[in-house]
Symmetry: C2
Subunit: 342 residues, 2 copies
């Protein structure tokens, strides 16, 4: 039997532990796994593109456990009543190849994306960061806000989205939780005085949500929405003046903001900041940029964290996913041996 966390139990877990606590705890798992980056089997995610969106598989393994995530990205989905991103994932035992854990990952991906953003900002944003500008108020926005409060200490948020209803939803969800929120009429207004700027929009196009004039010295850019070939958010020149941190270069060069740049554009693999092999922020004036596309190891950490958190509680159920006949060479007997099965 495979342990299973469905949508309802994922919701119950989040209600039990709280979004902010979960993201904070997940950062510990992420840091643990990023520090042993070199032990992982790593490939760029395997994408099946269509005119409407993309379906991706994201496998990885540390040699003891294997994980993969199924995830779609369909920017036109919300207009039709569907989620832009839905996902589920699986952990497996490398030793015998059996799956051990399956979970919905639409909510879990929202948590892990915020946790990854917050982890990077914790290490490369200015230590005194208090105000975050958010461009984009979609599904991911509240998770980003809570992650940055829990991990980085952000209290003040300025926010802008082309969809005023989305901004109103963000305010409705976040104000009761104690944030100081300023709704802005455009990007120019939103970025004034920001220590951190998070861009998280979903349009599958080469956009310039943020231009060089929006980026003051010392700002940390958390660029989340550019995560697919042909899907970027930043004016390319922003990259020239920033120290750019990435997860897995072979994937980011195809999917991230740096797809706008040559193959040899200089980037820092973030895991090296954690191990001390590379520096993070070099000065108070430096612009730092996390070109986030989301990598398989992030999901590996998120699945492990969720699995450990729900273990032995009624938040996990069991699904019968692995046929296991008494004699392993006698699979056929399962098709005829009724009494032993029913």
């Amino acid at each position: 039997m495979v342990s299973f966390v469905d949508v309802n139990n994922m919701v119950r877990w989040i209600q039990r532990d709280g979004v902010e606590n979960i993201i904070t705890g997940m950062v510990d798992y992420l840091e643990h796994d990023f520090r042993r980056w070199e032990r992982f089997d790593k490939i760029a995610r395997v994408a099946s593109h269509t005119p409407f969106g993309v379906i991706e598989l994201m496998p990885t393994s540390d040699g003891e456990e294997y994980s993969f995530k199924y995830v779609n990205g369909h920017p036109s989905n919300p207009a039709r009543g569907f989620q832009t991103v839905t996902a589920f994932g699986v952990l497996a035992d490398v030793d015998n190849g059996y799956p051990t854990f399956q979970a919905e990952m639409t909510l879990l991906t929202a948590l892990r994306t915020a946790a990854t953003s917050a982890m990077v900002a914790k290490h490369v944003a200015r230590k005194d960061s208090k105000r975050m500008a958010m461009i984009g108020a979609g599904s991911q926005s509240e998770f980003q806000a809570l992650g940055f409060r829990g991990v980085v200490g952000i209290e003040d948020i300025t926010i802008y989205d082309v969809d005023p209803k989305a901004v109103e939803k963000f305010r409705r969800n976040m104000e009761p939780l104690g944030f100081n929120i300023t709704v802005c009429s455009g990007v120019d207004e939103a970025v004034i005085g920001a220590d951190i700027i998070t861009t998280c929009t979903a349009d599958k196009a080469q956009n310039q949500i943020l231009a060089t004039r929006h980026v003051a010295p010392g700002v940390h850019l958390n660029a989340v929405g550019g995560d697919c070939p042909g899907k970027t958010e930043l004016e390319a020149e922003i990259l020239d003046d920033a120290k750019v941190f990435v997860e897995f270069p072979p994937q980011t060069r195809v999917e991230g903001e740096i797809q706008q740049k040559p193959e040899d554009f200089p980037v820092v693999e973030f895991w090296k900041v954690l191990t001390g092999a590379e520096t993070g922020r070099d000065s108070e004036e430096q612009v730092t940029l996390f070109d986030d596309v989301g990598f398989a190891i992030n999901d590996f950490s998120a699945l492990r964290y969720c699995r450990d958190a729900v273990k032995g509680t009624d938040l996990e159920t069991q699904i019968d996913l692995v046929a296991d006949p008494e004699d392993p060479k006698d699979l056929f007997s399962m098709t005829s041996d009724v009494p032993s099965l029913l």
Copy 2:
């Protein structure tokens, strides 16, 4: 909600419809999908290798539906009480990226592997084939036997395995179903008078289960067990004198028997035989060889067939795998809006 066929319901479906009927029906789906081969998004499967085995993801899409299979291969598993191969798979709607169907695929893979072998033999083995030699009596063997009876008309089986208990198991399972079974003391004995030779062993090594002396003119070789880098069953010279049919050359050249041969070793893509673009068997004396490794489209067909067969019956249950908030931009509300969920 995602429609789900777990192990128990897969067993109930097989008991309802019968292995031989299911394989025969599945060949129709396979032929339908192989005929429109060019419409599919095709990549070699994505493998994560370890010293003990391999875990693979096998995605494909016809532009309307997407499928993937998770499958492991661990040759040393049976000695430890586990299945060599376990699997599960998913269908998804390409239009919005949502998963629609999930099924256990340990049993379903056994059915689809036999269906694929039988489909190819139906088109390239000699029409008067009646006797099959089987080398290997593991989990897959009974499914192969029933597939070849249902689709090709095989009644007489000679069988050999290094493990006499496995052979005894095969005889115990198959004799009641009306086969004429001859248990042989070695490969040399088993292949005498065979119209078709099926090799289906699991050792992860470059073996020579079959040598040139075993291959008489006119025989069809159904080589199933060589399906991983470093895992082959045939003496390389057998390939030189045979017309070799494969599924997807970029995958087979890495995983199949032809991994023993140069990159430009001539092969025929089997789907072209179905469309008439290539000939199958050219003479009664020609040796034909299906270098089967198993491709993602085979699983696409198998999942579609199973989904259609169980639709609307109590053989499918529903699992809650896709978070779907009322407002698609308000995923966060699911984490707080208890009353609407519970």
